[in-house]
């Protein structure tokens, strides 16, 4: 008998514009000791399933049809009170963001003890002992001491361990983990996944992991259910789904996952989804505005970017007295070069300083020490805004978050036209507008997009707008700061393809920043590995992946999800 069984689930979100069906006709089973992965892209309805099972659907969402059984016992029609008794006691839940999942005002002990006492018939002393024990089980060092601390005193990974401990408190039979590692760095992610897997086997609980990350699926799940737009399109063992998927959606989804093992020219696109047709329209670059005037007047032939002894410091504690101030070195002594026409990658975990370097080059931060040469000119020595504008025009940046990188109050036309107007690149309003339209066309959005506002577009489309804006100054150097990490994998493939094409057409030089090693492998010619503000190793991409020199590079590569059994594209 299955531990948790979901039959013909249908979840609806009624609204004034009609009823939105988030999940329809979904049937799933979780067996003891088994990890079931539910995978899908955003909007597939996978999270609502988890919420529906524990009875915490956000209003106005409701279960319109279907049944949920726990050990053969129907639970979806229980009263609120009875459902509450199940939560935590028999079904545990782990959420995505460990930073916000814990009550900031109470100690870990209080939160644990409260939950333990609620579900188990124990004395307070026993509950406290159990709390410490749980922390030990989830791998928190020195649990006797740390149990007295507050959440903010734990790092993100440690907090997720605490969250897991809380979910395990009452030894539930089923654990539902909703994107449990998405907010974590690769190395932490690996540890948490390992922990989950271990607990699952040891305690013989059934686990449902909801994720968008094929790497996670490949690493921990036994079986996988693939969701697409509220429907279950395919279910099977992990090996089967990854290696030999039946459904065309699954096939294209898996093929769109960047491959860590070898470099491809272009990403295979997910053809199943409608927006896949939005590729760029071809444009005769040489005769177009974009292709013209690419002579920047310096005839410089050396490396376009040359970074020398770069340092960046942030003040962490201010004081009137100099000696009491303390600083955090975000970047320490970075040195590298980027040749014209090259894509240079920077890889590292969060806080490693890779974005800080990008911001220093683009002029958002002023370096504490060191020089940045752009086409032979030291940018740090430029004093007037006017002179700086000359270089600003030549380098542009694409940001990570497609939702915040466009001003929500401006029309797409104005967003893209702004750099053209500011740098005086067009002689008339009509010319500007026609250039914007061409750019939109070129990034695959179509002319009609110009009169709309950013919120009318999806994440991938917005990132195209960002790219169009970056191209609008006719730059020769493009900085991409995690341009696809907020996107679904199928969209990511489109955007990366677009960037590759543009780079080739316009001969752009790029600095490409990512935490995702497979993406780096697909995109970059040369890679720098960063940790704690230090650039540890710079190497040709293939060389790095085949033969990493630095210990940390080796470590990172080891942690990289292998997807070994994935069917070759």
């Amino acid at each position: 008998m299955a531990l948790l069984e979901i039959k013909d689930l249908r979840i609806e979100f009624p609204s004034r514009r009609g009823t939105m069906v988030a999940v329809d006709k979904v049937s799933l089973q979780v067996n003891p000791g088994e990890v079931l992965g539910v995978v899908g892209e955003s909007g597939a309805g996978k999270s609502t399933i988890g919420n529906a099972v524990i009875g915490l659907l956000e209003p106005p969402g409701r279960m319109a049809a279907g049944e949920v059984y726990l050990k053969g016992e129907r639970i979806d029609n229980l009263s609120d009170r009875e459902k509450r008794k199940l939560r935590g006691k028999r079904i545990g839940m782990i959420f995505q963001d460990p930073l916000t999942s814990l009550d900031p005002l109470q100690t870990i002990e209080k939160q644990l003890v409260e939950t333990i006492e609620l579900h188990l018939d124990v004395t307070e002393a026993e509950a406290k002992d159990r709390a410490v024990d749980l922390l030990r089980q989830v791998g928190i060092p020195d649990p006797e001491h740390r149990v007295k601390q507050y959440p903010h005193q734990f790092s993100g990974g440690m907090r997720q361990r605490v969250v897991i401990a809380l979910a395990l408190c009452a030894e539930p039979e089923v654990i539902i983990a909703d994107e449990p590692t998405t907010a974590l760095d690769v190395s932490i992610q690996a540890q948490i996944l390992e922990l989950i897997k271990k607990l699952c086997v040891e305690k013989n609980v059934g686990m449902m992991i909801i994720t968008h990350d094929m790497g996670v699926i490949a690493d921990v799940t036994d079986r996988v259910a693939v969701m697409y737009r509220g429907n279950l399109v395919e279910e099977g063992t992990t090996a089967k789904i990854l290696g030999d998927p039946d459904h065309p959606y699954t096939q294209s989804l898996i093929s769109a996952v960047p491959r860590p093992d070898k470099r491809l020219d272009r990403f295979p696109l997910v053809e199943y989804i409608e927006s896949a047709g939005e590729t760029k329209k071809s444009l005769d670059i040489a005769n177009h505005w974009l292709g013209q005037a690419r002579d920047f007047g310096d005839h410089y032939t050396g490396p376009l970017i040359h970074v020398e002894n770069l340092y960046m410091r942030f003040l962490t504690k201010n004081s009137i007295f100099k000696k009491n101030r303390s600083y955090f070195d975000a970047v320490k002594d970075a040195n590298f070069e980027i040749n014209s026409g090259e894509i240079f990658g920077l890889v590292g975990e969060s806080g490693s300083g890779k974005s800080t370097i990008a911001r220093m080059i683009s002029g958002l931060y002023t370096p504490a020490e060191g020089s940045i040469y752009f086409a032979g000119t030291d940018l740090t020595q430029i004093t007037t805004e006017k002179k700086r504008d000359h270089f600003r025009r030549q380098m542009q940046m694409i940001f990570q978050d497609p939702f915040s990188s466009l001003n929500p109050r401006m029309k797409v036309m104005d967003i893209i036209a702004e750099p053209i107007r500011f740098h005086g690149l067009a002689s008339s309003r009509a010319e500007t507008e026609s250039i914007v339209r061409d750019l939109l066309d070129h990034v695959g959005l179509g002319v009609a997009a110009a009169m709309k506002y950013p919120h009318e577009f999806s994440g991938g489309q917005r990132q195209r707008i960002s790219i169009a804006r970056a191209l609008a100054t006719r730059p020769r150097f493009l900085i991409c700061d995690e341009p696809t990490s907020a996107l679904d994998v199928s969209i990511q493939a489109q955007i990366l393809n677009l960037l590759k094409d543009l780079q080739a057409e316009l001969g752009l030089t790029m600095l490409f920043i990512s935490h995702d090693l497979p993406v780096i492998r697909q995109m970059c010619d040369k890679v720098g590995v960063m940790r704690y503000g230090q650039l540890l190793e710079v190497a040709e991409t293939e060389q790095l992946f085949e033969n990493p020199q630095h210990e940390y590079s080796q470590h990172l590569l080891e942690l990289m999800p292998k997807l070994t059994n994935v069917k070759a594209a």
Binding site: L364, D389, E418
Partner: protein, 305 residues
């Protein structure tokens, strides 16, 4: 334009508006009062500000329906100078609304400006502006208004006083309100400043001033609108309160608050209509504006939808 209208009527704001009778009623009342205030000279039966037209012998007449002294010329009765209450309410609402709107506008301009600068510049500028805000906070609105009124009367020549009274009120109420806007906008600016669209603008080379006004300002107006609505109600009440303390518009051109204060003297003597009718007008106006502000707060807060 057509498209914008269509989008508006399709939007959530209009939906939540059109589905809440209380909010619609509030909007109608507010609009009615504002319109009748604007067109007071056309719709009011008398001109209470024209001294030559009022007769002391008509003073303290009860509402027209009073069987003994009611006078059909004066629907809601007259005040102690023989002014028609209805007309005076209409004209008074004009002044109350003028003071309300103008002082809110003043605080908004000052507060939003300083908030933007403070939030965007950070560092010493920020500290400096926020310390000024602290000082400002330790002078509550009423105290500021009392002091400023005193000062203005001291500084400006006498023949300007009557015209100045309204401006003094606007300035005094306005200056005490900016801190809230500044703090809110500062917070919002600090959030917006970190957003990538601002960094994109900086990478392009756009100058701070332009970034502040073209990029950040439109994105921090939501909370300003909400505070502004509630502040409008507060400003109108403050004006009324100040008139109680003897600081306010001249009695020859009374605002709603001044009228209530005048009527206050006649509450015991049974001439209730002098203060109660303007009081009702004030409650209706302020309540409607507050309800609108409430609704706007919820409707504009994406998290509460």
């Amino acid at each position: 334009m057509k498209q914008a209208l269509k989008r508006f009527f399709d939007g959530d704001l209009w939906y939540s508006f059109s589905h809440s009778p209380v909010v619609i009623l509030s909007a109608v009342i507010t609009l009615l009062i504002i319109l009748s205030a604007i067109f007071a000279p056309m719709i009011a039966p008398h001109n209470p500000f024209d001294l030559a037209s009022i007769d002391i012998m008509d003073s303290n007449l009860p509402p027209a329906w009073n069987e003994f002294d009611g006078d059909m010329r004066f629907l809601l009765g007259t005040d102690d100078q023989g002014r028609d209450i209805l007309s005076t309410i209409l004209y008074g609402a004009r002044i109350s609304l003028l003071v309300g709107f103008a002082s809110v506008a003043f605080s908004v301009v000052l507060g939003v400006g300083l908030g933007l600068i403070s939030g965007y510049a950070g560092g010493r500028t920020d500290t400096f502006i926020m310390r000024i805000a602290d000082v400002q906070l330790s002078f509550p609105a009423i105290l500021i208004a009392l002091l400023i009124d005193g000062v203005a009367r001291g500084i400006f020549p006498r023949d300007l006083h009557d015209e100045l009274a309204v401006y003094v009120l606007i300035f005094a109420i306005g200056i005490s309100g900016w801190v809230q806007y500044a703090r809110t906008v500062r917070g919002a600016t600090m959030v917006e400043k970190g957003k990538e669209y601002v960094q994109a603008a900086r990478v392009i080379g756009i100058r701070p001033g332009t970034i502040l006004f073209r990029h950040i300002l439109p994105n921090v107006t939501g909370p300003v609108l909400v505070i502004g609505t509630i502040h409008l109600a507060l400003a109108i009440i403050t004006e009324a309160t100040l008139s109680f303390l003897g600081v306010g518009v001249p009695p020859t051109t009374p605002s709603l608050g001044t009228l209530i204060r005048i009527g206050n003297d006649y509450l015991f003597s049974g001439e209730w209509w002098i203060s109660i009718f303007p009081g009702i007008a004030l409650i209706l106006l302020v309540l409607a504006v507050n309800l609108l502000g409430d609704w706007l707060r919820d409707a504009l807060n994406p998290k509460l939808r």
